[in-house]
């Protein structure tokens, strides 16, 4: 689902006009394939020099994530901007994958699930990726020479997206993924999409305060 091949591409902000409402829409990252119009929620896809509306994005669930589009932060000294969001819902709740453009040209995901945050990038490894059926919580697998524990298997459904995303997204799309962790808080997701060949995203779990985020939503609660 979150397939985003190609690791590094230069940043080249491109402003287009939404064919549906005429508002400006942006493609900040060269890896962005899709942009959701902020005003009319039209789903725009980049085609050569033009953009095409392929649909309208469903409204997202109101959640209490402190992140929002336009927030900026720094991970391992590399500045990044939050340019897109994918909201996913599963049996027991919802979580967000924030699509981030990093200043070194990479685009990655800032996962935001139940108060835990992760940064991960599409990664390829020499080992064959395991089949979904072979996974079991608590099992150990080695990917890219790193020994992971399978911590979470879930089947989920796309609620919707906003901003820029590296792939086509539609509400209701089904997805299947496995989360992996190591004893040093490294983190990986095997995303099986709705097919058999998974994509691997590898990174780490990070405390929110380590990301030096700016432009967060005002907490609407006590404290």
């Amino acid at each position: 689902m979150r397939s985003a091949p190609g690791l590094t591409t230069a940043r080249s902000t491109k402003t287009v006009t939404c064919p549906a409402c005429g508002a400006p829409a942006r493609f900040t990252s060269a890896q962005s394939l899709l942009s959701v119009c902020t005003y009319c929620r039209a789903t725009l896809i980049r085609r050569d020099l033009a953009v095409e509306q392929v649909g309208t994005m469903a409204a997202l669930l109101e959640d209490a994530s402190p992140l929002q589009l336009g927030a900026e932060g720094s991970w391992r000294g590399i500045h990044f901007a939050v340019i897109g969001r994918l909201q996913v819902r599963w049996e027991s709740g919802s979580w967000n994958e924030w699509y981030c453009a990093f200043d070194d040209g990479r685009a990655g995901w800032l996962g935001d699930a139940g108060g835990e945050y992760s940064v991960s990038f599409p990664t390829s490894v020499t080992e064959p990726l395991p089949a979904w059926e072979s996974l079991e919580p608590g099992a150990r697998i080695t990917l890219g020479g790193i020994d992971y524990e399978v911590t979470d298997l879930r089947q989920a459904e796309v609620v919707g997206g906003e901003g820029e995303l590296p792939m086509r997204v539609e509400a209701g799309w089904k997805t299947t993924s496995a989360d992996l962790r190591t004893d040093t808080a490294r983190f990986a997701t095997l995303d099986y999409g709705d097919g058999d060949t998974p994509c691997l995203y590898a990174g780490e779990l990070v405390p929110l305060e380590d990301l030096a985020l700016r432009g967060l939503r005002e907490p609407d609660r006590w404290r």
């Binding site: 959640d63 209490a64 027991s92 835990e116 911590t151 004893d183 808080a185 006590w222």
Partner: protein, 430 residues
Amino acid sequence: MALTPPPAPIVATLACEGCGAPLQLRAPGRSVVIACGACGAVLDAQSADHRVVARYEAKRTVTPRIPLGSRGTLKGEPWEVIGYLVRKTKVSGITYSWFEYLLHDATGGVRWLVEYGGHWTLTKATAAVASTRGEREAEYLGERYRHFQTATAEVAHVVGEFPWQVRAGDKAVVEDYVNPPLVLSRERTKDESTWSIGEYVDGDTIWKAFGLPGAPPERTGVGAAQPSPYRPHSWTMVRLLAAFVGLALLVHLSFLGLSQQGLVLEADWRYHPKAPATSSVESAPFTLTGRTSNVMVEISTTLVQSWAYFTLTLVNEDTGAVRTFGREVQYYFGRDGDGSWTEGAPWDRAWLPSVPAGRYVLVVEPEGPGPMTYRVRLTRDVPRPLWLWLAVGLLILPPLVFWWRQWRFEQRRWQDSDHSRSVFTSDDDE
């Protein structure tokens, strides 16, 4: 305490779709379900109609000891209680229950306060997974934890809101590993394996933090993660013991160094029961010098399978003062069904305390059934090692009591675990 009261929590109030009871949603946006403590209905907290998504049988209204909505600062961070779970497990036919309070903060952070038998832990999910070593040990961030218990936990009651779909009857296999005051837990369901780490908290601390009336529930036994009141002093005890024994040894050695240990008399005599002249002999005069101190009396004989009794009299020639004492020497040996045996020895040693300086003679009056030759040696001022042994024996008593109590405390901790017997051998290993 803050001078200004914190802003009032933003809560959404709704009526339970099941029974109409008023419910308060304290973490709108984050909570996925909200459960009614009065009727057992679990409502969808995210949809506008708050439809009932699950229902369990609530025989009575479940009332958490810490009311939902309570707010307090624990370990320097402010928390609000929003959810409450009663979980249970069955071990050899007996059902054990414990209570879990879900806490959240303004930034979406989540903690659990877990109570079992009056023992509390403040728990959070770990970012890293722990690694298990066999079935008996887990390692997390370089610390080792000993396996305490593995049990299947079932949700018995749900009240309040949760950021995931929780239902009464949900089951998970819970493994606990302890390294007081920490407890490392793993919960496994069919799709998840999550690790969490908890730290022991005093009930009183929680009651104070949340400003609760009354007293926390009475503690029963020793909690799995309860820090031992003895453990921090264990090393102090060893050090103190070593210091005092060292001191006693030093005192003994300095007495050894300061003492004269001078041989003042060495005489050989012969005894024959039929020769009356040998039944009382007198030594040549000798002089004891220095401070008033002891005299070591050694008698060695040629006795074999026999005995002798010596009456010894130390006469001060200057003052006429007399000290009389008796010593028995017997030496037997043989061989029987159990092998060879010996009883006694052909020699004897005794200390005569507090003998002033002066000129003395020793009168020896032996008695016995047979003839013998014997030698008497008097040595002035010999420190007795007995005092050292007595001192060590007394000094070791308090640590022994201490270690026994510490051992008992660990026994009580582990008696509720899966390993209530194995503790005997590896109670205090690091």
